[in-house]
Symmetry: C2
Subunit: 194 residues, 2 copies
């Protein structure tokens, strides 16, 4: 099973982190991002959006880190990470959406500007980052884990850009419940740092 990967990408780290936690073996294929390998065939045939990560498992080809987490958990990771019942799936899916939208356009965007010089609105990304971290902190004040009272793929979707936030100029010191949760995630068996 191949993961087309960029080491510096938090979205790719979501998948590597989950594979480590759930003991799933991946063949990690480094993509030549700087030369735009992900935007040309054959990779752009696998993902027309021209983004990473992409997972290829025999005939199954998937883009979007959140969708890949669902696949890996459902197929290989066991019900603890992605349950069979709709209420649990939906509770987790709320956080997958939060990762794919709110976090992407705040913490991830700020890091893209600061670390990679992306032409995005940094002030807006920073303002959204404080909203996102405030919401997370409030949730984690009351809950040890994002959903279902236990670690799930929600952690793998949300953790990467939170722990990478300082690379975008966003400090976590004002969010004590987030910091405690970051430590809890890092303490999980099999954890792999970025």
């Amino acid at each position: 099973m191949k993961l087309y990967d960029l080491q510096a990408s938090g979205n790719c780290y979501k998948v590597r982190l989950f594979a480590a936690l759930a003991h799933i073996e991946l063949e990690v294929v480094a993509v030549d991002f700087l030369n735009g390998e992900h935007k040309k065939p054959p990779l752009s045939d696998l993902n027309p959006l021209g983004e990473l990560p992409v997972l290829q498992d025999g005939p199954v080809v998937l883009r979007d880190s959140q969708a890949i987490l669902i696949y890996l958990a459902g197929e290989y990771g066991g019900l603890a990470w992605w349950p069979a019942h709709p209420q649990g799936q939906a509770e987790i899916a709320q956080w997958l959406s939060f990762a794919g939208n709110e976090i992407q356009h705040s913490l991830c965007a700020a890091r893209l500007v600061q670390k990679f010089g992306a032409a995005l609105n940094k002030a807006e990304a920073l303002q959204k980052s404080s909203v996102v971290l405030g919401l997370l902190d409030k949730h984690l004040e009351q809950h040890d884990w994002l959903a279902m009272g236990r670690p799930t793929i929600a952690e793998c979707a949300v953790y990467p850009y939170v722990v990478l936030a300082p690379e975008g100029g966003v400090e976590l010191g004002a969010y004590p419940s987030v910091l405690r949760w970051v430590e809890r995630v890092a303490g999980l068996a099999g954890y792999q740092s970025v």
Copy 2:
């Protein structure tokens, strides 16, 4: 089962559309959006993000239209709309992410500016809209439905802001496969227009 709803919201329409297609009865509760009812208790207790829609089904409270679609389909809609196997779930989840991120920040954003005067970057939204519609059109050239060769909740997530695109100044004429798919969705039994 209550849906806290805003008639003009494409995100709320995603849920209403699916409920109509799958014959799920919802009590639609109109929220006084102009006066910010969704940003104050009790609604902000149900969804700290201060957004609509919100679904309340007994003790189950869910935000995020994509998560709500998963719940409704899994709990009440049957396996045709959201299968039990991970490969199908992930195939659909790719489009749920596309709806919650790419479409939200293109077609939906353009409409928020044009119809509601939102302080967003319209030029950027329009540029992203043509990318999004180009990707959709290319996919729908080869596929009648977004995922799994049949209508699923992916249709309910993607269709609303596509059909509402002209309200954001985005015309669909250049995307013939998208137009044919829009007609296929509108021809589904139980279909309800916005």
